[in-house]
């Protein structure tokens, strides 16, 4: 929920991609590497334009593909640069090799995933499948609901990523089409405030490629015996511990942001009209808007329904999710992607696991909707609430746009 108490910045009218670009510029990155891809292109165009006019003082690298985009940024970060890029769908797939390496190097950065469904069938429209495919790579994933939240979260992302206890890359995800091209007004924070909020850059104090601090970065580590395997375990454990720690840092950073801007985005999980709800839907990203409208309409009709919106998807906020789930009798989980291995949406089994880990089990229905840019309307959510309210849990997912 966005509560505007004090408006400090100026109001601008932008789409989600432009909002991300504005947020990036306020975070003052040193190096931005770009390669265009639908539906991300207007974002990097906006950034390039800002660098061209001098509005953003950053090194612009127009490289020959997403693989080199992230590779160049890793080199830059190892020299101390704050970095940014954005990608989508096949671009993310092509970036995969350096992508899976970034968290292990503990190099902080923010990268936007302008989410898109994946091939095949050939498809350039929205869906979360691309981001879901990289959910176990060690990046922090935060999903935005609104254009304002995109702008704010890009900035907050740097604060989380560069926190000395975290030192991990952050994906700030916004839905292709609905958010990337959806135009709305939002507030542009004040640069001085953002500078103060982010503080000094803190990128490569731990691992640097710098003749003034010579070190070997990422030597071979492992093998069947000797010091290697236990050393490797310590690296891995350090990484997963940092992921776990990041939940608290994300909360703290959101609280700080709210204090400075008056905009209190829920950091992990947002509970919408949940306190006396009997059933709820778990949502992710821009679909939440329509889901909340549906919820309001059903409430007006006297139904005790609520929404649980996931903002931070990786690491998965088990406790926050369990606390929300504890308030209702049954839930439906609406995914914009599929889990081929579970015949459900991926977030559906995250929710099931969160319940199991918290010691309770409640009816939990998997809904899959919004694939390939399909619209998710109030009526889709109304139908979902109906199904959850009946208390039956079908063996497979409910495909919401199958008969649209």
């Amino acid at each position: 929920m966005t509560v505007q108490t004090k408006a400090k910045g100026k109001i601008i009218v932008v789409d989600g991609n432009e909002a991300a670009a504005k947020g990036v510029a306020l975070a003052r990155p040193d190096v931005v590497a770009v390669y265009p891809i639908t539906p991300q292109s207007s974002l990097v165009e906006a950034l390039s334009a800002m660098i061209a006019t001098g509005e953003l003082d950053a090194e612009l690298m127009n490289v020959e593909g997403e693989h080199s985009v992230l590779s160049a940024l890793q080199g830059a970060a190892l020299a101390g640069a704050r970095t940014y890029t954005a990608t989508s769908g096949p671009g993310l797939a092509f970036m995969f090799e350096p992508y899976i390496r970034q968290p292990g190097l503990r190099l902080p950065m923010v990268a936007s995933l302008v989410t898109r469904d994946t091939l095949t069938p050939q498809c350039v429209w929205g869906g979360h499948q691309d981001a879901m495919l990289v959910r176990e790579c060690g990046w922090i994933h935060m999903y935005c609901e609104t254009v304002q939240e995109i702008l704010d979260t890009v900035i907050m992302g740097y604060k989380v990523a560069e926190h000395p206890e975290i030192m991990l890359p952050v994906n700030v995800n916004h839905d292709g089409n609905y958010l990337s091209f959806g135009v709305t007004s939002c507030e542009l924070p004040d640069q001085a405030m953002v500078d103060d909020f982010l503080g000094p850059k803190s990128i490569n104090w731990h691992a640097a490629l710098d003749p003034e601090r010579p070190m070997s970065v990422d030597p071979l580590t492992g093998n069947a015996g000797g010091a290697g395997p236990s050393m490797f375990v310590r690296y891995r454990k350090g990484q997963t511990d940092a992921m776990a720690r990041s939940l608290q840092v994300i909360c703290d950073v959101h609280a700080d942001w709210a204090k400075r801007t008056g905009r209190a985005h829920a950091p992990l999980v947002e509970e919408y009209r949940l306190d006396d709800a009997e059933i709820a839907l778990v949502t992710l990203g821009s679909m939440t808007g329509a889901a909340k409208d549906c919820c309001d309409a059903l409430r007006d009709a006297g139904k005790r329904v609520g929404i649980i919106k996931v903002k931070t998807y990786r690491p998965f906020p088990v406790q926050a999710m369990a606390r929300a789930l504890s308030k209702v009798k049954a839930v439906g989980v609406v995914d914009r992607s599929v889990s081929y291995g579970w015949n459900s949406g991926p977030m559906h089994h995250d929710v099931l696991a969160a319940m199991a880990k918290s010691g309770f089990v409640k009816p939990c229905v998997s809904f899959i909707g919004g694939l390939a840019g399909a619209d998710m309307t109030q009526s889709h959510f109304e139908r979902a609430f109906d199904i959850v309210a009946k208390g039956d849990v079908p063996p497979g997912p409910i495909w919401m746009n199958e008969k649209d």
Binding site: V31, E64, S71, T83, L209
Partner: protein, 438 residues
């Protein structure tokens, strides 16, 4: 210790005038009358052709080992084999050890005699009109760079006879400490340069990039230092796989953008670190573990991608090929490449024969390097956009290609038509390069 000066003799220039022997006899005895007093002996080989016998001042001199009285010693300061009249007992066992006729008994003086280079100013060279005799520091490079710190750790685990290990040490000696090195997966990090289980392999910042992203990763790093106003050399020490196969896209992109990087490709024609699999740089007909030899297949079926030529087409600031057998040439090109990498993309392609993967004795690496160039299997040249291509080693009188192919096990199975195809390819390639030559 330093490199030593040496007397050199070029038989093809010698006209047999005997001036050198007269000068030597005069320098040693005060008279040019008795040529048997000369410590350099020019002998007739055949009509109009001559050879020379003189002390080669050997590194592991048998005359010294054979001396029972300690009269002969290798002088570590100037490299000469010193003879001590005071301790010599005239036993002549030194003459048994010498296969050059470089130390011989001189009846007129009653003891053995040998060349002492006249204390560094040899009389024979001064009088040689034909240019057959020279007095050179054959390893001047060593004097220039030998004192520079070897910035790789000792005891890297490269195979015996590894050309790449030799050359990376030379490279860093020259480049110095103000550098960031990227060594993508392959022999170079495989031998431990980036380190192993927490132990470092180099005294400079060094990184293990992906096989695919060396050039782009260095580009981001370099741009950051430029933005910070710092001049740091961004250096890639890559293999041919990391340059011409999966690493090619990022390499091409960085070259196109003119990133200020020095990219050195150590071309050992394949993935030698992982068991000798073929790469796009593997030469036609080569046996590798993925282009095996049998009834159906006889080695690699396609020609090697010519990376230096491809990089030249990128209009890079500097492109050169080099071989460790011509070190002066290599250092000259390294200098130019370093300078060019301050303004644009510099690419150095180093031919790096691999004893383990190519199947030749480890002691022959440098000989193979030499044959490779002398047979025109590879050509040495460099290129600058505003100057064009210049050959740095003559290509007009190549040794027979067979002398190169026969020296290497991976070509042992070649049929005549395969050899013919290689010959044709080399001729075509040379003709094409010549069209770019100044």
């Amino acid at each position: 210790m330093s490199a030593y000066n040496s007397l050199t003799y070029n038989a093809s220039l010698c006209i047999g005038c005997g001036e050198c022997m007269m000068a030597c006899a005069k320098a040693k005895t005060g008279s040019a009358d008795d040529l048997s007093q000369s410590r350099i002996k020019i002998v007739v080989a055949e009509e109009g052709k001559y050879e020379a016998a003189l002390c080669r001042q050997c590194g592991d001199a048998k005359c010294v080992m054979n001396c029972p009285s300690g009269a002969l010693t290798k002088n570590q300061a100037n490299g000469l084999i010193d003879w001590n009249a005071d301790t010599c007992v005239n036993c002549l066992l030194c003459t048994v050890g010498c296969v050059y006729g470089g130390i011989t008994f001189e009846a007129s003086v009653g003891h053995v005699a040998k060349c002492d280079t006249c204390g560094g100013d040899p009389a024979c060279v001064k009088v040689c009109k034909s240019g057959a005799l020279g007095y050179v520091t054959t390893a001047a490079i060593y004097n220039d760079y030998g004192k520079e710190e070897d910035l790789f750790a000792p005891g890297l685990a490269a195979c015996q006879g590894c050309n790449s290990e030799l050359m990376i040490r030379h490279v860093l000696r020259k480049v110095g400490k103000n550098v960031v090195v990227a060594a993508p997966p392959g022999c170079i990090p495989g031998m431990g340069t980036v380190g192993y289980n927490g132990k470092a392999g180099a005294k400079v910042p060094i990184f293990h990039p992906l096989l695919t992203n060396t050039a782009s990763m260095l580009a981001g790093l370099k741009r950051t230092y430029e933005r910070q106003g710092r001049e740091v050399t961004a250096l890639a020490l890559a293999g041919d796989g990391g340059a011409s196969d999966v690493g090619f896209q990022s390499l091409s992109g960085a070259a196109e953008r003119g990133e200020r990087i020095l990219f050195i490709c150590f071309d050992n024609e394949g993935y030698m670190n992982t068991g000798m699999q073929a790469s796009s740089a593997t030469s036609f007909g080569s046996w590798t573990s993925t282009t095996p030899v049998g009834d159906k297949l006889q080695g690699k079926r396609t020609d090697a991608k010519n990376m230096p030529m491809v990089m030249m087409m990128h209009n890079a600031a500097y492109v050169a090929t080099a071989s460790s057998v011509y070190m002066e040439d290599f250092y000259e090109k390294l200098d130019k490449a370093l300078e060019a990498s301050k303004k644009g993309f510099a690419y150095l392609h180093l031919y790096a024969p691999c004893p383990s993967g190519w199947r030749f004795p480890a002691g022959l690496t440098i000989d193979i390097c030499r044959l490779m160039v002398e047979s025109n299997f590879v050509t040495l040249w460099d290129y600058e956009p505003d100057r064009g291509l210049v050959f740095t080693h003559p290509t007009d009188k190549p040794k027979p290609l067979e002398s190169y192919l026969k020296a290497i096990g991976k070509y042992r199975h070649l049929a005549q038509e395969q050899v013919d195809r290689i010959k044709k390819l080399l001729e075509d390639r040379l003709a094409m390069l010549k069209r770019f030559a100044r």
